[in-house]
Symmetry: C2
Subunit: 430 residues, 2 copies
Amino acid sequence: MMQILDLRNKIGDSSLKTMGLGRPINDDRDLEKTVIKILNKVKDRGDKAIKSFTKLLDEVTIKKLQVSPQEIQEADGLVSEELKQAIKLAASNIRKFHEAQVLKSTPIQMTTGVECWSKSVAINRVGLYIPAGSAPLFSSLLMLGIPAVIAGCEQIVLCTPPDKNGKVHPAILFTASLIGLTSIYKCGGAQAIAGMAYGTESIPWVHKIFGPGNRFVTMAKQLVQKDGISIDMPAGPTELLVYADKDANPVYVAADLLSQAEHGADSQVVLVSYSESVLRNVKLELDKQLETLPRKEIAEKSLPNSKAVLVLDDEEAMKLINAYAPEHLILNCANADALAEKVINAGSVFLGNYSPESAGDYATGTNHVLPTNGYAKSYSGVSVDSFVKKISYQKLTEEGLKNIGPAIELMAAAEGLEGHKRAVTYRINK
Amino acid sequence: MMQILDLRNKIGDSSLKTMGLGRPINDDRDLEKTVIKILNKVKDRGDKAIKSFTKLLDEVTIKKLQVSPQEIQEADGLVSEELKQAIKLAASNIRKFHEAQVLKSTPIQMTTGVECWSKSVAINRVGLYIPAGSAPLFSSLLMLGIPAVIAGCEQIVLCTPPDKNGKVHPAILFTASLIGLTSIYKCGGAQAIAGMAYGTESIPWVHKIFGPGNRFVTMAKQLVQKDGISIDMPAGPTELLVYADKDANPVYVAADLLSQAEHGADSQVVLVSYSESVLRNVKLELDKQLETLPRKEIAEKSLPNSKAVLVLDDEEAMKLINAYAPEHLILNCANADALAEKVINAGSVFLGNYSPESAGDYATGTNHVLPTNGYAKSYSGVSVDSFVKKISYQKLTEEGLKNIGPAIELMAAAEGLEGHKRAVTYRINK
């Protein structure tokens, strides 16, 4: 079911599409219209609109959108002790990795009397969206909530859809509580994004919205940008590329590919190797493992879009990888360290035989909110940086302005901006 | 001509618009249609389309889009020695400030056998747009080109419109040459953005496009994002807010306000003070200085949109500043250091009486490509960070995976993702 492409000697300047590795493109025009309607209704009617969309789309009547402290407390009793410990271990690693991202900036003396510095300042109000459709993604909440708290965001709003009983999954509430979030709303889909973008009677508006979601959520995030709300990154279906050398274990490789394929019917899975026997063996192993996979139906839909690519050698493989720019890249090969140095475009890289993608999805400490759809060419994954902006500062003394003033005057005049020049001249020619 | 608003005791939760400080909103629907046409023509017809738009819009026939080495050499003779020295001084400060932004990352040992790190990797192909309509903005080229070179971008493409003789302004060519750029194209407007987004016979395509421009350029940058090209930041008219205390020199304050007002008829200028006499004196001084300003006509159009705001005290001023989120903020007051600590939303901050905005525009070393239109709430200005993405890495040994594997298995199972769990199980239960 996974198509084998022989691309030996063909990886050069031809496009991914020509090589059979193009990503699927959705025609989103109808979706856009629907989502615009949802956004406008929430903008106009606030909570009322959100509740009526929740009834219509999530098929549940919600009286109070905000999760109560009592519900959070109840959830604590519904999560097993061992799952709590697992979440705490993951949280601790994620915290450790992300705390190292906090930047301390020291002023730089540019010349006598001219001092410049920059400072990371938390984005004041941020919104996190956590889907709960096919699974309660508390791991994504760790990935977004922890850096938001480390950055020091003052208002952190969490929206996540309620289940059929009007409840939020206890593992999500436990995780939120562990991180220290209390502003939690039972609200999903495009209506949740609208709530955080424009604010309602219950839901606080925010400056920036984070988090994965279905096509409605993704479209809503795209659209609210027009109203000045920023978002973490453009989103597409999740992806994994595995580069396997001749000694890669086909059982592990197949398991990694399936862990990605089970995400959704639109997941992208690519296997690359110079060894035909590895490609064949992984394919056999895939079929075998698929039989007993609980989410077999989903994985089966995704695999036909996926490709097994035969290349000549490491060099062709790295060319292909950098052209594809995978969200997740597993280098399952003996020389993984050396190849990792040659990665230019990827979201997160997993080295060697014992680094499955799911390790990074949950617990190594790195972030799993990563650029998809080729965006790894210009975007980073979520980090503490995503929750701050850097403000630059400069302080000049009279002497400092005298030192660099003449250069400013000359440049301003050459750009035809006499007003810029005068702002200096008045000060240094008193 | 500058309207005085008395907002004492009125700065709270009411919107900027209600307070009379809303930013102008352009209706861009017609513009969007025009720009889409330009983008599509360039996508389909490449250089031919670019040349015909250049003929139509810049009124000049260009045979060869790329600037020749000879033209670069000629330009060198056309720039005065003193301007060259000024540009070199600015370049040296900008280089010093931006080199400090380069991040070294060291691997973190998360637990025995689990090592994680992240690495800044240059965006491979970037495009810089430098306008030349009302002025040859070589200073913006310094601000974009220097961090691109420091980041290590492999392909740096520069597009800038030709003058009526089909030439690029010598100061721009000198600056490009100083920075080390050679891939320079005579091409402006939306057609230049299209050229860099899609590539033509002459112009290389890029992953990310930077730089200021008119409404066509801004719209084109917005639109090419749909095709997977990223951009530096959303752009709006440039802005300055000056907070002046009772001892601020009205001559300096007025000069600063005019230096911003002369940029364009849509520039935003806001003066804030608790001192009515300072507001009055700055207003008088504005009128006086305006008379002799070469770009009087432009500044005169911008000033009526501008506001002088009376507040009660520092506290109200800081509330207003953080709500407005100005691109440039001058704290012209004795306690500038203390107030700077309270700035949450601003692009670049200038402290004290001797720190005019034009110092940062040209030569302090900080970047002058900054978030406008309130985007300082969630965006940073351009920095080396804008030219890299951070890739995360993880490397686990068998022991490492055994250490965190059980937590991963539990979490994956709780999220209903059995395939994720198995990728671990197969490895640790051999």
